[in-house]
Symmetry: D2
Subunit: 306 residues, 4 copies
C-alpha cells in the first residue's frame, strides 16, 4: 500500500526502507535535507515539505510518524491543515500513552483516525523485522495490516493489536521498563565476573557460552556477547548511561497503580547515578561519618578518589 513516513532518522529511515523493499510505495519527509537525501537512496520518495507529502498521497492517507516524542504535537499541528476526514495518523514513536489517547481524541473531533504503534527492534529491525504493538480500533488496524506484516519479522508474528488507543504505547512503555531491568541484571552479573579475572579470564567467552542452552539466553545477551567480543575490556567507553524516558514513565505508572516494581526502579536510578559527577548525598554521608565517628574524610580530587 501507500504511506507517508514522517521522520527519516535512524528508526524512520530503516522502517521506510523495509516497507519499500516489501513492495509498498513509501513517500517520506524529514526537515533535515541530509536525511531526505539518504532516504532517497533507500527506496523512499523523499519530499521537502509536509504539504508536498500529503498532496502526493491519495485519500484516505496513511501518515506514519517516527519523530521524537517531544515533536509529535507540533508535527500533528503542522499536518492538520493538509489532512482530510478519513486520513489516518500512526504514531510509531515512543510517545506517552496518555498523550496518544489525548491526540486520538483531538483528531477524532476532525474526523481523523489514529493508531499508536509501539515499535521495538532498534537498529536491527531493518534486517530482522520489528516488533509492533498496535493500539487502536479494529478497522484501523485492519487497514494498516499490510504495513505491520511487512515491518514485522514475519507476516503472522511480531505484530499484534493489543488493545484500544493508547494500548500500543502502554505496552511499549512496559517493554522498555522490562528492558532496563534485563540490561541491569546482565550488567551486574558481568561486573561481578569482571572482578574475578583470575578465576574467569574471558567474559566474551562466558557471554557466548550462555547464548546456547542456558536459562539466561536472550537477544540482549546476543548483543552483549558481540560487544564483549569486539571490545573485551570496554575500553574507551564512559560509564555514563542515558535514559530515554520510558523507564521513568513505567515507574510512575507502577506507583500510580500502587504496584511495587523494585527492579525497574533501581535500574532507572542506577542510570541516574551513572551520570553524577560529584554526588552531594555521598559527600554528606562522608561528612556525617566524620561528625559522629571521627572517621576520616577523603579529600575531593585526591588521587584514588573517584
Amino acid at each position: 500500500m501507500e504511506l507517508g513516513m514522517i521522520g527519516l532518522g535512524r528508526m524512520g529511515a530503516a522502517m521506510a526502507e523495509r516497507l519499500a523493499r516489501g513492495g509498498h510505495r513509501v513517500l517520506g519527509f524529514d526537515p533535515l535535507p541530509s536525511a531526505r537525501e539518504a532516504a532517497a537512496t533507500r527506496g523512499v520518495e523523499a519530499v521537502d515539505a509536509l504539504p508536498a507529502l500529503t498532496a502526493a498521497l491519495a485519500a484516505p492517507r496513511t501518515l506514519w510518524l517516527m519523530v521524537p516524542a517531544a515533536a509529535v504535537d507540533a508535527t500533528i499541528e503542522a499536518l492538520l491543515p493538509h489532512l482530510a476526514p478519513g486520513d489516518r495518523v500512526i504514531d510509531g514513536g515512543n510517545s506517552h500513552y496518555r498523550d496518544s489517547q489525548r491526540r486520538a481524541q483531538a483528531l477524532a473531533a476532525r474526523g481523523l483516525r489514529f493508531v499508536d504503534v509501539g515499535t521495538s527492534g532498534g537498529v536491527w529491525g531493518l534486517r530482522e523485522g520489528y516488533c509492533l504493538m498496535a493500539g487502536g480500533e479494529a478497522d484501523d488496524i485492519a487497514a494498516i495490516r499490510p504495513l505491520l506484516q511487512t515491518l514485522a519479522p514475519a507476516p503472522d508474528r511480531g505484530w499484534a493489536h493489543v488493545g484500544p488507543i493508547g494500548a500500543g504505547h502502554f505496552v511499549k512503555m512496559v517493554h522498555n521498563g522490562i528492558e532496563y531491568g534485563l540490561m541491569q541484571a546482565y550488567a551486574e552479573g558481568f561486573a561481578l565476573l569482571q572482578r574475578k579475572e583470575a578465576l574467569v579470564p574471558d567474559l566474551a567467552q562466558v557471554a557466548e557460552l550462555w547464548r546456547h542452552g542456558s536459562v539466561v539466553r536472550s537477544w540482549l545477551l546476543d548483543l552483549t556477547a558481540g560487544a564483549l567480543e569486539a571490545n573485551p575490556a570496554l575500553d574507551g567507553i564512559a560509564p555514563y548511561v542515558e535514559d530515554s524516558g520510558e523507564g521513568r514513565w513505567t515507574l510512575a505508572e507502577a506507583i500510580e497503580a500502587d504496584l511495587s516494581t523494585p527492579v525497574i526502579a533501581l535500574s532507572l536510578l542506577q542510570r541516574l547515578r551513572s551520570r553524577e559527577t560529584d554526588p552531594f548525598g555521598e559527600k554528606l554521608l562522608a561528612a556525617m561519618r566524620a561528625a559522629f565517628g571521627g572517621h576520616p574524610i577523603r579529600p575531593a580530587g585526591g588521587s584514588g578518589a573517584r
Copy 2:
C-alpha cells in the same frame, strides 16, 4: 565414553538419558529405588550401591555428581574408599565454588581429579541440550570433552572451559544471579500490564508478541508466554517464590568484592518478601504512623487486609 552418574533426580536422570542417547555407556546410582527404576527405562544401567557403581567402571573412572549441594561432601566421602588415583569426580550440581575449590584440593591429595561443571537448562535440557560451564585443568576437561559435547546443544557450542577449578561453579552462580534479575524484571512488567486490564486485556498475547523482534525477547520470555497461554490469570498459583541459594551467594560475593548489584539484591529480597505471612516490619510501620500522626491502623485479619 563410560561414566557413572550419581544422583538420578530431575536433572541427573535427564542428563543420563541424553548421554545414553548420545552413545555413551551410562551407569547410574541413586539412593531412591524409584529413581533407579525410572532411570533404567531411560537407557541407564542403574545399580543399587556406590561400590557396585565404581566396581562396574573401568579405571580411570569418571563419576558425575548431580546431587543437592548439601549432599556433595557426604557423597564424596562415601565414594572415597572405592576410588583409585586417576579417577575423576565431576560436580555438575549447584555447589558453592569455594566448596569446589576445597574439595578439589582434598581429592588431589589422594591423586583424584576434580572438575566443576555449572549446568543450566533445567527440564528442557534433555531436548535442547544443556549449557555447561566447566572449571578445572585442561587435561581433565579434554578427558570429559565427549560428555560435554553430547550434553551441550551442539558439539561445538554451549559448553566451555571457563577457568581453573571453581570457575565453573562461579560462572553458574553468577548466571543464576542474573536469572533472578531477568525473572523479576519480567514479573514486574507483566504485573503492571495486569493492572491495566481494560487497556491491555491479553497478557499471553503480549508475551507471545514480544518473542518476535523485540528487544526483550529471550528464552525466559518464551517460557513466560507458554505459562500465560496455559493459565492466563495464573489461577491456583500462590505468590510464593523459593530461592535455591545461588542468588544469595551471588549477592554475598558481590558485596565481598565491594560491588553494588541493586537488581540482583532486590530480586532476592522480593522472593524473601513473597514468603512472609505477617511481616513484623510492616506492622511496625503502621504502628509508627499511628503514633506520630494518628493515622488509623488496619486491624489484623480484617476483611480486605492482606
Copy 3:
C-alpha cells in the same frame, strides 16, 4: 493576632488550640458540625460558614487552611468572593509545591497574598510545638510571624522562611520523603531483631535503650519505643501501610532532577507491597520457576501460604 483557621480536623483543631492558648484570636470553620463543636471547646470561635468567617475578620485577613490537599482548590474558590485585596491565604497542609506556586499566582492576580507553610509534628504538635517551613515573600512571612512563633516549639526555633513561594511545601515534601526512609530503616532493624527472639527477647527494651546515647536516637525511635512498650508483639495490627502522597512526590521530583534516591524509592515501594493481597508478579515468578526448572508451585490458598 487574629486569624481564621479553615479545616478543624486532627491537625487544624490542634493548631487552632495552640494558637488560642498563645493569645491569638482564632476563628474557625469546618464543614463538619462535630468538628466545629469540638473546636469550640478548645478556644476557637467556630462559625458555620465561610462567609461568616471572613465577615468576622478585620481586613487585611489571615486565613490559614488546614484541609486535605485535594480540597485546597475548592476551598480557595469558595473563599474568593469573600476576600479583599491584601488578604492573606496560608496553606498549612501537604499541598504539592507546584500547586502552591500556581495558586499563589492566581491569587496575586486578584491582589491576594499567599504563603505555603509545610507543617510537621503530627498529633504531638499541640504539646511540643510544630516545625514550620514557610515559603513566600518576606513581608508576608513577617506579617504572620506571631503565628509561627506560637505554633513552633519556641519563638526563635522550629520555624523558618526557607525560600520563595513553594519552598515551604517543597521542603515539607522532602521532609516526608526522608521520614519514609527513616521509618523503613527502623522497621527493618526491629524485624531482624524479632527474628532472633531467643537471642534478643525484648524489643521494647532495645528501643528504649537506643534512645540514650546511641547514634540512632531520634524522635521516631522515641515513638517506636512507646509503641513497642504498649504492644510488644504488635498484636492486632495488620501489616498494611498507607502512604499519603509526599513520598511519591519526592521520588518523582528526584527522578525529574536526575537524582538517584534508592532508599526513598524502596521505602515507598515497600509500602505499596504491604498492601498487595495476591501479587501477580510473584505468582508469575513461581510459574516461571516451574516452567524452566520443574520447581514445585505452592497452591494458592493452601495452608502455609501467605
Copy 4:
C-alpha cells in the same frame, strides 16, 4: 572499680577517660607508645605490655577490649597466659556476634568469663555518654554494672542487659544497619534539596529547622546540621563512603533469616557504588544501548564525563 582497658584508640581512650573521671581505677594498654602517652594525660595508668597490665590488676580481673574486630582473637590469645579462672573479658568493639559466642565458649573452657558490649556514641560518647548493649550472663553483667553506669549517659539509662552472650554484639550490629539506612535517607533528602538551590537556598537552615518539632528530628540530624553549618557546600569532601562491616553483617543475617531489608541493602550498596571509579557494569550498559539502539557512547575521560 578497677579495670584494664586494652586498646587506647579513638574509642578506647575516650571510654577510659570517662571511666577514670567517674572514679574508677583505669589501667590501660595499647601497642602504640603515642596512644599510651596520650591516655596517660587523660587519667589512665598506661602500661607498656599486656603482662604488666594483668599483673597490676587484682583478681578477678576485668579486661575491657576496645580493639578492631580483626585483632580480637590475637589479643585474647596474647592475654590467655596471663589470666586466671574467674577473670572477665569484655569485648566492647564491633565484633561479629558469632565470633563472640565462639570466644565465650573457648574462654569458658578455661574458667574465664566473657561479656559482649555493643557500644554506640562515637566521638561524642566521652561527653554525652555511650549507649551500651550488653550480652552475657546475669552475674557477669552485675559485676561490671558500675562500669556500665559510668559509661552510659546516666546510671539508670543508656545501658541494658539485652540477652545471652552474643546478644550485645547482635543488637549493636542491627543498630549499625539501621544507622546506614537513616544516614542514606537524610543524604538523599538533602541531595534533592541541593538540586533546587533557587527554591531552597540554605540547606543548613533547613537542617537546623527540622531539629525542632519535626518528625525527622534525630541526633544524626543534629550532626548533619552542624556539618552543613560548618561547610554548606561540603567543599573539599570526596563522595567516597567507607563501611566498617556491620552493614554487611546485618544484610547477611537478614538474608539468612529470610527477611527482606531493602533499605539496609541499598544503603550498603550505595556506599560500595560511591567507591567505584570506573564501573564496568555501567560501561556495559552504555555498550548494550549502542548495540541495540545505536545510541551514542560517551567516550571515557571526555569532558563532561564523570
